[in-house]
């Protein structure tokens, strides 16, 4: 199939560029949202503070907003900052989508972990952040991996913002490239299927790579 064999340029070259764009954008979004999400989630899971409900409300509100309602002002802001058609713009937007999600998921996860573990560590002189990094994170690995994978796929699969913000191979992502296999009156299903399978490979590889970590049942061991 042409997608696999064709040299640079044309459909195949564009598709490969899209794969690279998608990988970069998704990986950056995962990295950012995991770091920020872990910190925020820990605050929600373990700390009591005023305004907690309000902050959570804000996050939920942003997550509930249909992207359709935000895309026009965002496009204007992107144009004003000269960020249209860049991977940076997509990464920034995707981080705003994945972070509340990761944060929320992990706060539930952290809360399910027994607090005694950390309390023991803190009695031993560990700070809260120290306890988070040394005690909570290793135990929460299955949660982190699931959240990271979710964030990755969310960014990998996102269609609407990408459709609107990107226009050249410099920033087009896989879903947009795939959508272009649909002609005005026709659909090249062969290309669509081949491209789709190809697009599923990176997330599947990542999931397979981390699966051992999930199956090892770290969390289950720690509860004992």
């Amino acid at each position: 199939m042409a997608i696999f064999t064709e040299a640079t340029g044309g459909v195949a070259g564009d598709f490969r560029a899209a794969l690279v764009n998608s990988l970069l954008v998704a990986a950056c979004s995962v990295a950012v949202s995991l770091v920020t999400g872990v910190l925020g989630a820990y605050a929600f899971a373990r700390l009591r503070f005023r305004g907690r409900g309000f902050v959570l409300f804000l996050f939920m509100l942003t997550y509930m907003m249909p992207p359709l309602a935000l895309v026009v002002p965002l496009y204007l802001a992107g144009a004003a900052l000269d960020l249209l058609d860049t991977r940076t713009a997509l990464t920034v937007v995707y981080c705003s989508l994945t972070t509340p999600f990761v944060l929320w998921l992990l706060s539930g996860y952290f809360r399910a972990l027994p607090a005694e573990l950390e309390e023991a560590a803190r009695i031993d002189g560990c700070t809260r952040v120290g306890a988070l990094v040394r005690i909570v994170l290793p135990v929460a690995r299955p949660g982190l991996i699931s959240a990271g994978l979710l964030a990755f796929l969310m960014a990998w699969d996102e269609f609407f913002y990408a459709l609107v913000f990107t226009s050249s191979p410099a920033s087009k992502t896989v879903p947009v490239a795939l959508a272009e296999f649909t002609g005005r009156y026709s659909l090249d299903f062969g290309q669509m299927a081949a491209g789709g399978l190809l697009a599923a490979v990176p997330p599947v590889l990542i999931a397979l790579f981390f699966q051992k970590h999930i199956t090892r049942g770290l969390a289950a061991g720690a509860v004992k």
């Binding site: 503070f49 902050v55 907003m65 935000l70 997330p203």
Partner: protein
């Protein structure tokens, strides 16, 4: 130490921990959210103009008194309930299966991940092709198996089509739900099950009395997330039915799209978006109230 005192002490740390995510999220969405809210009180019918008349709540009252809008709400509710129930039911069984210690489990898990990782664009187009009334694979298969006399148009009727796109959405997200539940199941210690088994509880009993209650927080999360996502589903409908036939699959997200993009009724679109948020928010609260004991403090 009083509770109040502890709150004061933890506040700076909480702010420090939350600051990065607040910046990442609010930095991007606050402006557009504010702009959309303002637009919903104006009379914006062009992307190019700057000044519009202030119409107060007119856009909202217009929507809320429009039977067409309520039909959209009803369709969204049907879509959401149907896809969420299927996702949760199938996802739970799938997670339970994936949690078994059987040979080749990695293979099944990979299959689930593969189904999940297939881009929505591809999945939706694949279904469009499978369901095609003339040369769709489903018709071919069912007629060959003798289960069908004549070719069916699976997305020909408005109601039918709504269930079909909801099913496609469920197909797309069931793996995700299963993986979320699986991650949560793995936090349940084997000893709990062993103890229950020693007490003579069978597999079904163990599932109902240990797994399900222990998964309540995860179920709550799945319910809320899936409800929100179902309200926002756009790409599947955009590809398979474009909101048709006879507006049968025009859910709130697609309605917003039609208003804002096809008709350039930005204010009506903005008001519809905020009403969507309102509905989701109320629903989420109801869910969380229902599952309160396990999720205290989530909202």
């Amino acid at each position: 130490m009083t509770a109040q005192g502890r709150n004061e002490r933890q506040w700076p740390l909480a702010l420090a921990l939350l600051a990065p995510s607040l910046i990442v999220v609010l930095g991007v969405v606050l402006y557009p959210m504010g702009r959309t809210l303002v637009l919903s009180f104006l009379d914006a019918t062009s992307a190019l103009q700057d000044a519009f008349d202030f119409v107060g709540l007119d856009n909202y009252t217009e929507l809320l008194s429009d039977s067409g809008f309520w039909a959209t709400v009803r369709r969204t509710a049907v879509f959401t309930v149907f896809s969420t129930v299927v996702e949760l039911g199938v996802g739970m069984l799938l997670a339970q299966f994936l949690n078994q210690r059987i040979r080749g489990q990695w293979f099944f898990r990979s299959l689930v991940v593969l189904a999940w990782a297939l881009p929505t664009i591809v999945g939706a187009n694949m279904w469009r092709w499978i369901l095609h009334p003339e040369y769709g694979a489903l018709n071919g298969l069912l007629t060959q198996a003798g289960l069908l006399d004549t070719y069916q148009d699976w997305i020909g009727g408005p109601q039918q089509a709504l269930f079909v796109v909801a099913l496609v959405d469920a197909w797309k997200t069931t793996p995700l739900v299963a993986i979320l539940l699986l991650a949560s199941m793995q936090t349940i210690g084997d000893d709990v099950y062993e103890a229950a088994a020693m007490d003579g509880a069978g597999p079904v009993r163990r599932f109902l009395s240990i797994t399900v209650p222990m998964l309540k927080p995860a179920i709550a999360i799945v319910l809320v997330l899936r409800t929100i996502e179902a309200f926002k589903v756009f790409d599947i409908i955009y590809i398979i039915t474009r909101g048709g036939p006879d507006s049968g699959t025009t859910t709130m997200a697609f309605y917003t799209y039609l208003q804002a993009f096809s008709n350039q009724q930005f204010s009506i679109g903005s008001a519809a978006a905020y009403l969507t948020v309102l509905f989701i928010f109320v629903l989420s609260l109801v869910y969380l109230r229902m599952l309160r004991t396990e999720t205290k403090g989530l909202v």
